[in-house]
Every structure is written in structure tokens, then in C-alpha cells.
């Protein structure tokens, strides 16, 4: 779906949704990845996991559906689909750590050329660190997809030779979806699988990471 301008957040989410295989068990990280749910096609059979103890989570709760005992990992009230199940935190993270989720989708500050992920801490000295389930998710799912803009506001690339921010996980990212390009992180290096409003040459020029064309 190459197009001649950068993708919107919704378009990125739609792209990720399209790449999630039918019937997958999926965890969508807090923030932008949550959007992906809105683009899963009817009958996809995708089952959403939320690490606070539920499988087959439904959409956000509308006003009269709100139940304080039923939230997602971002503490937003959600709903339950038929075939849901509840479990406690140790069981929920055993599910993640044990490699039972097919896909998890996470946001990122940086991804390295070898799939290292930095998404929990800017390393700023005055920042209060908070990690939540990010490290567990990063190393747990069979496939880890990252969604992010490719460049920070100051133009600095977020796909980098090595992360400068503190790591969330080592070599754990499989695929990166950005507003201007998508990438596969492979044992042979970073493969550009699509571009949006940017040429491959310009991309290769602006990133310090060796690329190949997919």
C-alpha cells in the first residue's frame, strides 16, 4: 500500500491490523497500539489479551457499560466479549512470558537495527521511572511489532544502530511500523518493506542503519 504521503495514526493502525494473522492472540500496548483494535476486520477471530488478567477483551466501554472492575492495562473501562476469561496477574504474565501470545504491538522511543527496544524510560535524570508490563511483553510474544513515528520532532531517527535510551528488551522486535516506512528486523539486517511519501534513497540517507529493500 505504498502511497505518496506519510501515514496518519489511523492508517498505521490499519496497516498493523492487516498484518495480524486470522485468529491470533494479541496484546496491544497502551497508547497508539490500542488503535489497532478498531481496524481488525469483522470475523478476524483475533483475541485480545490485556495483561491485567483477561482474554477476549472487547472495545472500550460506552457510558452505561462502564464497570470499575473491568479495565484494560491503561485502566480504561472496557467490555467483555463472549468467550472471555479472567485470570490473576501471575497467570496472565505466565501466558506472556511463556510465549503463548502470537503478536504484541508496542510503542517505542527507539528500536535498534538488531531489534533492541527502548520504550519505557527516556533516561532523563529527573524522570520517575515506570516500566509496567513493557519488559514482559517485549520478550514474551512470538512476534513483537512496534508502532512509532520514524523521526522525533527534532528530526532525529528512532530506528538507530544502537539504542541510547535505556533498553526494554534485547533483540526482541520483529517488525517496525512507522508513518513513512515499514521495516522487518531480520538476522540479516533491516529490510524496508514499504515506504510512504519518502523514497528508499532518502530513507537510507536519513537513517544511520544499513538497510536493504524487501
Amino acid at each position: 500500500m505504498s502511497q505518496d504521503k506519510a501515514l496518519s495514526k489511523d492508517e498505521m493502525a490499519a496497516l498493523v491490523a492487516k498484518d495480524i494473522p486470522q485468529g491470533s492472540f494479541v496484546n496491544l500496548g497502551i497508547g497508539q497500539p490500542t488503535l489497532v483494535a478498531d481496524f481488525l476486520p469483522e470475523g478476524s477471530g483475533v483475541v485480545l489479551h490485556t495483561e491485567n488478567g483477561m482474554l477476549n477483551m472487547g472495545p472500550a466501554a460506552t457510558e452505561d457499560e462502564v464497570d470499575p472492575d473491568l479495565t484494560n492495562a491503561g485502566k480504561i473501562p472496557v467490555t467483555e466479549l463472549p468467550g472471555a476469561s479472567y485470570f490473576h496477574h501471575a497467570d496472565s504474565f505466565a501466558m506472556m512470558r511463556g510465549g503463548h501470545l502470537d503478536v504484541c504491538v508496542l510503542g517505542a522511543f527507539q528500536v535498534s537495527a538488531t531489534g533492541d527496544l527502548a520504550n519505557w524510560h527516556t533516561g532523563a535524570p529527573d524522570a520517575i521511572p515506570a516500566v509496567g508490563g513493557a519488559m514482559d511483553l517485549a520478550i514474551g510474544a512470538k512476534s513483537v511489532f512496534v508502532m512509532m513515528t520514524l523521526f522525533a520532532k527534532d528530526g532525529t531517527p528512532k530506528l538507530v544502530p544502537g539504542c541510547t535510551y535505556p533498553l526494554t528488551g534485547v533483540g526482541c522486535v520483529d517488525r517496525v511500523y512507522t508513518d513513512v516506512a515499514t521495516f522487518d528486523i531480520t538476522p540479516d539486517g533491516v529490510v524496508v518493506t514499504d515506504t510512504f511519501g519518502i523514497s528508499y534513497d532518502e530513507l537510507a540517507d536519513r537513517l544511520e542503519v544499513p538497510l536493504s529493500q524487501g
Binding site: 490485556t50 495483561e51 491485567n52 488478567g53 483477561m54 464497570d67 470499575p68 472492575d69 473491568l70 479495565t71 484494560n72 485502566k75 467483555e80 479472567y86 485470570f87 490473576h88 496477574h89 501471575a90 496472565s92 504474565f93 505466565a94 506472556m96 512470558r97 533492541d116 524510560h121 529527573d126 524522570a127 520517575i128 521511572p129 515506570a130 516500566v131 509496567g132 508490563g133 513493557a134 519488559m135 514482559d136 520478550i139 514474551g140 535505556p166 533498553l167 526494554t168 528488551g169 534485547v170
Partner: protein
């Protein structure tokens, strides 16, 4: 030993000691044992180590306990939230210690405490600042970090219903850390919306068996 049905939350937390490690259930407000925390504030125990996924929301519950200066150390995965101003302030002033633990390790370390496991090799956090200084080992080609149990002196758990023997069930995602914490503490205190007669809970659906529960209070 036989569960005690307490008349009030105050009675349930009366003997929490200064310096205790208190496991507090809840993920945000879901499953948060608000009345037990309020009673603990009233009771006055201080110099506490508190284990909770977060570090207080708004000004009530855990945030209020923190605001009173009763907490020496927080062990949690996600202290920073948009309404965690109480913790944020204390932390920046150096008035509260923080041990940051990945959320799954928090759960698994308490599970280990409850299950008599001495330590376990865990893949989470390998190569990150949260594994710094910890023992690592390669097993079958993968690197793991050695993690130790987190034990509580007391667990405060928010649940849905209990029978008079102390069997407990939860509601939806309010289950979260409660069942794990109940296994990991020397004394487990559960607040419920309702105490029902023994035999009214489906034995197939009990989540926390009575053996883990010391005191129950209906709130």
C-alpha cells in the same frame, strides 16, 4: 487456621506492625482494598514497605497512606501516572524509596514466595537497567536473570465475595494481584462486598481457597 470474620476494617488491620511489608492488591482502582487502606491509615503503622502495581492514584487510598508519610519504600511496576502526584512529590523530595520491578516479575516473585520457590531464572529484563547487578545464566541458548521471592507480612486484598470459611471470588479484572498476594503474605486480609454462607460458592470457581485467607471483612 480458621478465618476470622471481622466486624470492621479497623479490627482487621489492628495488628499491622511498624516496619511491615504490606502487599496491597489492585491495578489502579480495580481491586484496590480502599476500606482496608483507610483503616490502616487510621491505625497508624509506619515505616512500611508497600507492594502494589502502582504508587497511588489521586489523593485517596494508597496515595493517602503515602501522603501521611507512612511508607518508607514502594515496590511497584508503574509509579508514574497522570494522577500520581502524591508519590511523585515524595519521590522527588527523596522521602520515599522506590524498587521498580517489571509487572510480571512483581507477580511471579510473589507467586514464588507463596509457592515455596527459592528463586527462579526469568527472561524478563535481561540486558536492561532493571537487571543490572543481578545474576544471569544462559540456559538452552537463552539468557535469564535470577529473581527472588517477595514476601509480605500482611496482604490487603479487595475481592467480591467470600464464604464464611474464607473462600474468595473476584469480579472481572479486579482479580489481578489479589490471588497472588493472598498466597505470599503471613497474614492475608480480604475485604469483600458480601460474605455468603459456606457452600454458596461454586467449588470449581473458587479463586482463592480458604487456606490463604486469615481475615475477612465485608465493606
Amino acid at each position: 487456621m480458621t478465618v476470622r470474620i471481622c466486624a470492621t476494617a479497623a479490627e482487621a488491620v489492628a495488628d499491622v506492625a511498624d516496619g511491615a511489608t504490606v502487599l496491597i492488591g489492585g491495578f489502579g482502582m480495580a481491586g484496590m482494598p480502599v476500606q482496608l487502606i483507610d483503616a490502616l491509615i487510621e491505625q497508624g503503622a509506619s515505616d512500611l514497605t508497600v507492594v502494589n502495581n502502582n504508587a497511588g492514584n489521586g489523593d485517596a487510598g494508597l496515595a493517602a497512606l503515602l501522603a501521611k508519610g507512612r511508607v518508607r519504600k514502594m515496590i511497584c511496576s508503574f509509579p508514574r501516572q497522570k494522577d500520581s502526584w502524591v508519590f511523585d512529590g515524595l519521590y522527588r523530595e527523596g522521602k520515599v524509596e522506590l524498587e521498580l520491578v517489571p509487572q510480571g516479575n512483581l507477580a511471579e516473585r510473589m507467586r514464588a514466595a507463596g509457592a515455596g520457590i527459592g528463586a527462579f531464572f526469568c527472561p524478563t529484563g535481561v540486558g536492561t537497567p532493571l537487571a543490572e547487578g543481578k545474576e544471569t545464566r544462559e540456559i538452552d541458548g537463552r539468557t535469564y536473570v535470577l529473581e527472588y521471592p517477595i514476601r509480605g507480612d500482611v496482604a490487603l486484598v479487595g475481592a467480591y465475595r467470600a464464604d464464611r470459611m474464607g473462600n474468595v471470588v473476584y469480579r472481572k479484572t479486579a482479580r489481578n494481584f489479589g490471588p497472588v498476594m493472598a498466597t505470599a503474605a503471613a497474614t492475608t486480609i480480604v475485604q469483600v462486598a458480601e460474605v455468603v454462607e459456606t457452600g454458596e460458592l461454586d467449588p470449581e470457581a473458587v479463586v482463592t481457597p480458604s487456606i490463604y485467607v486469615d481475615r475477612i471483612v465485608a465493606v
